[in-house]
Amino acid sequence: MAVCIAVIAKENYPLYIRSTPTENELKFHYMVHTSLDVVDEKISAMGKALVDQRELYLGLLYPTEDYKVYGYVTNSKVKFVMVVDSSNTALRDNEIRSMFRKLHNSYTDVMCNPFYNPGDRIQSRAFDTMVTSMMVQVC
């Protein structure tokens, strides 16, 4: 499962970022921040093809020695970034994709909450619960 999940707004500021364990939080923030360049690169590279295929999943953004970083971008240019431990070889592409889809559905529910102001940080119990279920379970 994921060790870090982030939701990035259209203007490239964080709406939500959650990592575990928390002592490595800064490293994950840096990793997510770095991945935004790759996301933009992928979006412009795929260009019209991306729009035609209606493909939101960007796949593996870049691997590091210990982690893999995956991306997903909605039609409204909101980006989801997920960091997964490299040692977790059981995690397949299809599972990452469905996790992103689940994240996207939860995000649309947050947007439909009348008390949520678009652009604010996400503070939603339902969203937190869903993200927790996708994070690595700390011992």
Binding site: C112, N113, F115
Partner: protein, 180 residues
């Protein structure tokens, strides 16, 4: 006669998401306009009352419900016909008082709150209070003074949403009911 038949079969469906979001926008706007949650609750009840006094005409025209002979029959009509017709849900009726003048409507799911999570600074807000006003206004137009209030709400962390209904008196006044 044909007009009546047409009205009965007329479809008035709307997207449930549009309905939920519209109500949400109404409530959040009231929260911005008023200083505290109690005023918002009163205003929702007031709006609901004005909806209820009109909705009862539509309900009676479409439902072919005859005169109710006691409060139990009224409760059945509210739960099985009215809620089904307008909200697409059928609440269960429980917790009758021994005198038969009080009961609870248990809503397993409330379509008004589908996407809602109450922020901490609105802990006193009764989000669906419009429903209480609708019930009070509608029943007043058929000569029943009732009190309706939420005693449990899933938004507050309760397991179910419960509306407590209490019969106050039969209204004998023949003057037309004015708006609040």
């Amino acid at each position: 006669m044909s007009r009546q038949a047409n009205r009965g079969t007329e479809s008035k469906k709307m997207s449930s998401e549009l309905f939920t979001l519209t109500y949400g926008a109404l409530v959040t706007q009231l929260c911005k306009d008023y200083e505290n949650d109690e005023d918002v609750n009163k205003q929702l009840d007031r709006m609901g009352y004005n909806i209820g006094v009109r909705l009862i005409e539509d309900f009676l025209a479409r439902s072919n419900v005859g005169r109710c002979h006691d409060f139990r029959e009224t409760a059945d009509v509210i739960a099985k016909v009215a809620f089904k017709m307008y909200l697409g849900i059928t609440p269960s009726i429980t917790n009758w008082s021994p005198a038969g003048d009080e009961f609870s409507l248990i809503l397993e799911n409330n379509p008004l709150v589908d996407f809602v999570e109450l922020p901490d600074n609105h802990s006193a807000l009764i989000y669906s209070n419009l429903l209480c006003g609708v019930l009070r206004g509608a029943l007043e137009m058929v000569q029943m003074a009732v009190e309706a209030k939420f005693v449990q709400d899933t938004l507050k962390g309760d397991g179910v949403t419960e509306i407590r209904m209490r019969f106050i008196r039969r209204i004998e006044d023949n003057l037309p009911a004015g708006e609040e």
